[in-house]
């Protein structure tokens, strides 16, 4: 996002008068009176901070005077506050529109105050198209501004592998149109030559009948061929797209995926590719063939009598207009109905999945009442829509009929004045039907096209997305020894919410490091950086003395073992789940890992043993069982670095102890990072990191930290006391019941 807008001219002159370099400039849209404005700016130079209103500089603050500058998030807005000489001051206000930019601005000014020449840039993509100001649908390029050429290019790229099929379809479509027009001509000959003149016998009627039948069967055959062929090609194209999008999504960085709602990405795989498929199936062949037939029909009509043709064409725009407007109304009405249906469904689902709560609190009546109200609204809407539909449909039908009547009337006059034969009149009205019939749905086409363009844009947004964490060109694929260094690492999931600041630690291969601290302090984030789900914003992480970013990603990941807080198991058997980390593992290896993880016993007791299905639609495992399977999965590949994020939190102390002992023996000589709330879990740790307030508060051996009497000491004594309290209470209760 842009952090350096153009400074209004007058103000720029003033600022450059101070001989300072403008580094950042942002607009702010809430004035000091709380009203929206569009002419206010804040400018940061290498030496000062300026507030600009209109084209005038209203204030200058010397950077030297500022000891802190903060972007504070409020509801629907935010403020930029500066702390000058220990007096906090609200400098300006803005809406959420500029929130992200102001968070970077504050960070950037902080850097300026420190005197570094590092300049903040915001990697977030712009939300609006820079050309037309429209919102980008989660993509980088605007579907309106940049698509015309690209859309055609992409369509051609998709058509290319199926060129033969498309040529066939095109030929069939041409044949179809010609036959359609010919059929009317044959009818005319039949009427004029045989019926009017009465020259032919029954034999001619049969001949005519067979001819028309043959033409119609050919038309039917061509249409069926077309539909089948387009369906086939459409499915192939969308299958291909789906595969590509799916594969690409696996490679995309987590921040790309986290930035978008999961539902939206699922939609890109399914809905957007289906829209493209529909576009090829219906819009492409049907549109093309209809257009061709219509052009043919109009040409023939114009040749026969251009005046009537013009009359017939006169109503066409009217019909187009009406169907266009009505489609909008339909869409509006039926979407409203759809939303209500959705709400009613949700309500039902809510009540059913919460049935225990409903019954426990005795609120059945209330739930029914809520549903009754919603249901009433839905019924109202439905009946209104149905009424509208049943009025509208015949109305449009009549309009179409009137157009045919006009053609018939004028053609009839031609017949009487001898310009047309009766056969010609039949031919003419036949053509006008070809012309008018499809008018009602032709107005749908622009919308389908827009949908296809947008879908295409959304699909290619994923396909064009570069891996945010690109593999280094000369990626290291060596065996990992296990030295881990954090070098001034800073990171935040959102720019205005830093989660880690200035984290620096040195860990030697083979050490076990415990990580403790209050929830939300940044423990799991440290782990996320270490397993390279994200790259740090500042500083770097060294593995065996070399930056993590230089390691080959898949080689690195195959050498670390991870048990995450949320133990996710895929649909499949337990065996497949454990093998996930090392697909070529033998049964023996899997059993060994499970034994270490204390999972072997409960797995073999299942009726289906290691083949027990878990995950979606599988058998339900307890939290402890899932954790133990996850541990088995993590240690299966004999990782050089083992990461345990609350890996044993759902286990009882005894099991935890056993697993820990086993892991301890297994990981001797391997680096282990373990996060735990239960401090007893970490007693085997060589050193302990205490994270508090997004920073490393303490780092050292258990004894050292206890002697420091700092945060760690407090945590340990608090837990000890609480457990003693528990014990005492138990003893007390026990004593009372004895007495």
């Amino acid at each position: 996002m842009n952090l350096k807008y153009d400074v209004p001219e007058g103000a720029e002159k003033v600022i450059s008068g101070y001989e300072e370099t403008i580094i950042y400039c942002l607009p702010f849209d809430v004035g000091s009176d709380g009203c929206l404005t569009d002419n206010c700016f804040v400018v940061a130079t290498d030496l000062g901070l300026y507030v600009v209103i209109g084209s005038e500089v209203t204030e200058r603050i010397d950077l030297k005077l500022i000891c802190e500058i903060k972007c504070e998030v409020m509801v629907n807005g935010g403020i930029l506050s500066v702390n000058c000489d220990y007096a906090e001051r609200m400098l300006l206000r803005f809406t959420h529109k500029y929130l992200t930019q102001f968070s970077y601005f504050a960070k950037g000014v902080e850097l300026l105050i420190l005197g570094t020449d590092k300049i903040m840039i915001s990697p977030e993509p712009e939300r609006n198209c820079l050309l037309c100001g429209r919102i980008l649908p989660g993509t980088k390029k605007c579907p309106r501004c940049s698509s015309r050429g690209r859309f055609l290019k992409r369509i051609t790229a998709m058509i290319k592998p199926h060129l033969r099929g498309f040529l066939l379809i095109t030929m069939m479509i041409i044949l179809n149109s010609i036959l359609l027009l010919t059929a009317r001509y044959v009818e005319r000959l039949f009427i004029d030559d045989f019926l009017i003149e009465r020259t032919g016998g029954i034999y001619d009627v049969v001949r005519f009948f067979i001819l028309v039948l043959a033409i119609n069967i050919t038309i039917l055959g061509a249409a069926i061929f077309n539909n089948r062929k387009s369906a086939r090609i459409g499915t192939l194209i969308s299958r291909n797209l789906r595969e590509q999008v799916y594969a690409k999504l696996q490679d995309c960085s987590l921040s790309f995926i986290n930035d978008r709602r999961p539902g939206e990405l699922i939609n890109r795989v399914h809905r957007d590719t289906r829209r493209i498929q529909e576009f090829f199936e219906t819009a492409f062949s049907r549109m093309f063939s209809t257009a061709l037939s219509m052009i043919g029909a109009v040409t023939m009509m114009a040749i026969m009598d251009y005046k009537i043709t013009l009359m017939a064409l006169l109503t066409a725009p009217l019909i187009l207009l009406i169907s266009f407007i009505s489609r909008k109304t339909f869409k509006r009405r039926f979407r409203a109905q759809w939303i209500l249906e959705d709400k009613a469904n949700n309500q039902l689902q809510d009540a059913l999945s919460g049935i225990r709560v409903v019954k426990a609190f005795g609120r059945e009546e209330y739930q029914s009442e809520r549903f009754r109200e919603l249901n009433g609204r839905l019924a109202d809407r439905q009946s209104k829509n149905e009424k509208f539909w049943s009025t509208f449909n015949p109305a449009v039908g009549t309009l179409l009929a009137i157009t045919s009547l006009i053609v018939l009337y004028m053609g009839g006059r031609n017949v009487i004045s001898g310009v047309f034969s009766i056969g010609e009149l039949a031919q003419f009205t036949g053509y006008s039907a070809i012309l008018i019939g499809p008018l009602t749905w032709i107005s749908m086409f622009p919308r389908q096209l827009v949908q296809a363009v947008t879908s295409m844009e959304r699909i290619y947004d994923v396909l064009d997305e570069a891996d945010e964490i690109p593999d280094h060109v000369t990626a290291i694929k060596a065996k990992i020894k296990g030295d881990v260094n954090f070098n001034n690492v800073g990171f935040g999931y959102k720019p205005y919410e830093p989660v880690l600041r200035n984290v620096s630690i040195e860990v030697k291969a083979g050490e076990m490091i415990g990580i403790v601290g209050p929830s939300g302090a940044g423990k799991s984030t440290m782990i996320n950086l270490l397993i390279r789900l994200y790259d740090p914003d500042e500083g770097n992480i060294l593995i065996d003395g070399r930056p993590l970013s230089e390691w080959d990603k898949s080689s690195y990941h195959s050498q670390i073992g991870v048990v995450l807080q949320e133990t996710f198991l895929f649909s499949g058997s337990i065996y497949e789940n454990i093998k996930y980390a090392k697909p070529n593992a033998t049964e023996e290896e899997v059993i060994r890992a499970s034994r270490i993880a204390n999972a072997h016993d409960f797995i073999t007791l299942f009726p289906d043993g290691y083949n027990t299905r878990v995950g979606d639609k599988g058998s339900t495992l307890s939290g402890g069982e899932r954790q133990r399977i996850a541990i088995a999965r993590a240690i299966l590949s004999d990782p050089a670095i083992l990461i345990l994020d609350e890996a044993t939190s759902s286990l009882d102390t005894e099991t935890e102890f056993r697993i820990q002992e086993a892991i301890q023996r297994l990981t001797a000589g391997r680096t282990t990072f373990a996060i735990a709330h239960r401090l007893s879990t970490l007693r085997k740790s060589d050193r302990i990191i205490v994270i508090d307030g997004h920073k490393i508060a303490e780092f050292g051996k258990h004894r050292e930290l206890m002697e420091q009497r700092g945060l760690y000491y407090d945590l340990v004594t608090a837990q000890l006391q609480m457990s003693r309290l528990d014990k005492r209470n138990v003893e007390k209760v026990g004593g009372e019941s004895n007495g």
Binding site: V75, N76, E88, R89, M90, K97, R134, I135, R144, V450
Partner: protein
């Protein structure tokens, strides 16, 4: 000996914990009599309460939609927004203090009220709004799926893509044309 000492220590600990628990049952109520709010030159508020001075406090609404003037939570900005106490009803407060608090509330909950909807256009899957609010004219963009939520009665909140919010305080006061524009979202 040490055993006896330990027991005393435990009892102290239990007492301390129980006091903490006790404090959960009572809302710390701030009244005009036991507090002094002062506006700082920087535009924030300081509070003197129980012979302690808080250099900057933040003001929150517990029920922003349903009770905007009641249950106002006063929190210490320098101590991770820890709650100092609550104000029962702003109406009971002297005008000057009320104005001070409402100013802070207005900054925290910046919600322009829509007085006129000029146009709502749908393009490429987004709705583009042009409205007149009590804070000036505004153009914003919303999703077409549920951008408007009802917050009781006829009050509506419109959420835009930047997660700004705009309030329509009475649906029935809108003109037919305006209702038709937003009908789809209701």
């Amino acid at each position: 000996m040490s055993n006896a000492g330990e027991i005393v220590e435990y009892d102290l600990l239990i007492k301390e914990q129980m006091e903490k628990v006790d404090s959960l049952f009572e809302i710390e109520l701030l009244t005009p009599d036991n507090t002094v709010f002062t506006r700082t030159p920087g535009g924030f508020l300081t509070l003197e309460y129980k012979s302690k001075t808080y250099p900057r406090i933040n003001v929150f609404r517990a029920f922003p939609f349903t009770q905007p003037m009641r249950f106002i939570s006063i929190r210490d900005a320098s101590e991770k927004n820890e709650e100092i106490g609550m104000i029962g009803d702003l109406h009971d407060w002297p005008v000057e203090t009320r104005e001070l608090l409402l100013e802070q509330i207005g900054i925290r909950y910046f919600t322009p009220r829509i007085v006129k909807i000029s146009s709502v256009k749908e393009e490429f899957g987004f709705a583009y709004w042009e409205v007149v609010t009590d804070r000036g004219d505004m153009k914003f963009t919303t999703s077409i799926w549920n951008p408007v939520i009802r917050i009781g009665g006829n009050r509506l909140l419109v959420n835009d893509l930047d997660s700004n919010r705009y309030e329509i305080d009475d649906l029935t006061k809108l003109s037919r044309r305006e209702i038709k524009l937003i009908d789809l979202f209701l």
